[in-house]
Amino acid sequence: MIAILRRKLPLAGRAGLPLWLILLMVSSPGPADDTAPGRTLAQQAVQEYEAWITADHADMEILQQEFTSGPEVTQACLSCHTLAAKQFHKTIHWTWLDPNADPSERIGKAGITLNNFCISIISNWPRCTSCHAGYGWKDASFDFSDETKVDCLVCHEQTSTYKKFPTGAGHPVSKPTVFKGNGKTFNPPDWNLVAQSVARPTRQNCGNCHFRGGGGDAVKHGDLDSSLEHPDMVLDVHMGEDGKNFDCIRCHSTTAHKVAGRAYSTPAAPDRRSLLEDDELPRIMCESCHSATPHVSGSKANDHTDKVACQSCHIPTFARVIPTKMNWDWSTAGRKKEGKGVIEKGPTGKPSYHFKKGDFVWEKSVVPEYYWYNGAMQTLTAEDTIDPTRVVAINMPQGSKAEPNARIYPFKVHRGRQGYDVVNKTLLIPHLVGKKGTAAYWGSWDWNRAFTSGMEQAGLPFSGEFDWVETKYHYPTTHMVAPKENVVGCSECHSPEGRLADLSGFYMPGRDSYRLVDIIGLLMVIGSLLAVIVHGLGRLFSRNGQGG
């Protein structure tokens, strides 16, 4: 038989040649070039970037005068940059309000939307507004039209010595002062040095606030923390100092001080054009530089970009260097031992309990949770009625599979327990920051007084009866894009217990199955097997078996 086969083989080969050629053509993706076109495109888009300028601020006499406060510096800046403050006043960085919502709804963190970290700015202004790019927002009376109150330096100074005091309502200190919260000493800035250093914002500038949201490094976002000040490409392919070394504004394109980025209710991705089609486009979307079909032509990944956000596969985990806060239970706050507040350290080295704030859970290299997302978030306010029998979603990604703009998108979900009004069924704003003798929780250690004061300052009712409710808050994950070697593998989602196990309403190969179909199929196969076995045995033990 082997001899016959050998004789036939050359012929068989000739006859089969066209078939195999066709097979080969179908299977090979083209020339042996493994650079994805989207990568080449993006590299072209960002070639030879050098931010050149025609003025040296160190030469300017007006910046050599003696300054004693931030607003004085701002006045000097505005003497040349006459439109800067007017521009800045229109941006969300200044107003902290959703520009698209009706102002009476007070949507935004300056308004009555909440989170499950320190919950609300209202009544806690001096602490929270240390991250406002302004000076002196210490209570509701802050004058948002005062141009000298804009803090130019926090975004533009390049010495990294300019620090706003944590409870200074946006001001740095005027004499060396210890912050009791962490025991660190804050020094007054060398105003001339910082004023003369100004340039375009770097990662450091943005990171001053955005890496420290929630009052500390890595607390809030999970994909934004101080590890991005000097990242390598393994942590972030765009910002890695061993690679392109992007600053934030490389993608967060800015016009007239308006920084492209997410908004409260506007879908972030109304269209899918790339820079090739429109070079005025903000570079905020991956597709702006990488196009909608960035992978090697013919690869299955290109078929995914209409439904799966790039981030879902290219950010396998967030908080890969510094642990981020995943859970915050306010209800256990206030524990003291012999008159002193209790602080406990957890397994990650971060506090697992703090008497001022309650129990924490911190996690590192966290796998995101996935939702359909069209770029808009629905936010709860302190006026909205909640159902305390369930976990309350303080904000919720909007979108569904049916929407052409929606994608499956990764999120950090921060869970917690916080106070709500048992009678009015609303979440409560606590007054937290304040000295002994005030109604603030950290002064009075009395939740009832803290809630009463917080809600009163927000102009909202409080029945006087409160309890604790579980909440969750969603942060879109978009930074810490990993190198392609570390991308999320197909089967991490295409498997029954995979990352997308909770997303229902559509069929996904490898993940979904129908029990009935499987049972029918297996019965068919087992039935045939049994039939041939019985038949074969019958032949073996009958005349056919003997005769054959």
Binding site: L11, L19, H535
Partner: protein, 215 residues
Amino acid sequence: MANGQMKNTYVFSRYERLWHWLQTLAILALLCTGFQVKGLFNLIGFEKAVKLHNTIGLGWLIAFAFFVFWIFTTGEWKQYIPTSKKMAAVVRYYLRGIFKGEPHPVPRSKDSKHNPLQRLTYLLLALLLLPIQMVSGFLYWSYNNWEAWGLTWLNLSVVSIVHLVCAFAILSFLITHVYMVTTGHKVSAHMRAMVTGWEEIESDTEVEEWEKKRT
């Protein structure tokens, strides 16, 4: 059945045999990779299975077009025309006669390769099961083009169910088919026919007129 004199006869042409084994390989590979995609077992992983499955699936579609061309240009399609004649006898043979050592009621010949039961089975296979599997597989593969092709009314889970049920049916056929190969006058006789093209056939077999392919 050993009373007649056996004559070595050329039954399957070179192309037929090539096609048969090529298709066997393709279907085996598609079964393995397909059930890996489904997650019935894990041998090569989901990603590799998808790539292989799609490549082999498309290759098979193209190769099948050649087969269709061949079967029509050679007139071989007539061998698949179904008939009810002697069907009962053939069924009776496989259910009872075979155990008693009776001869096959419709033995094979060059002009009539398939008995009535085979004709029906292969016709159903080539006309129904395999095409449905090809169409559903092709649709599955082209999921991203449905909108452009105006197929938005289609539903991926329905396509996948059709594809999966047919996959199970093909596997069942395969099991039965492999077993039936052993039912020749010798266990290896049919196998030899499909490998070398030659099979020993009783020389005095009369091919009845209805069985002959008309030329």
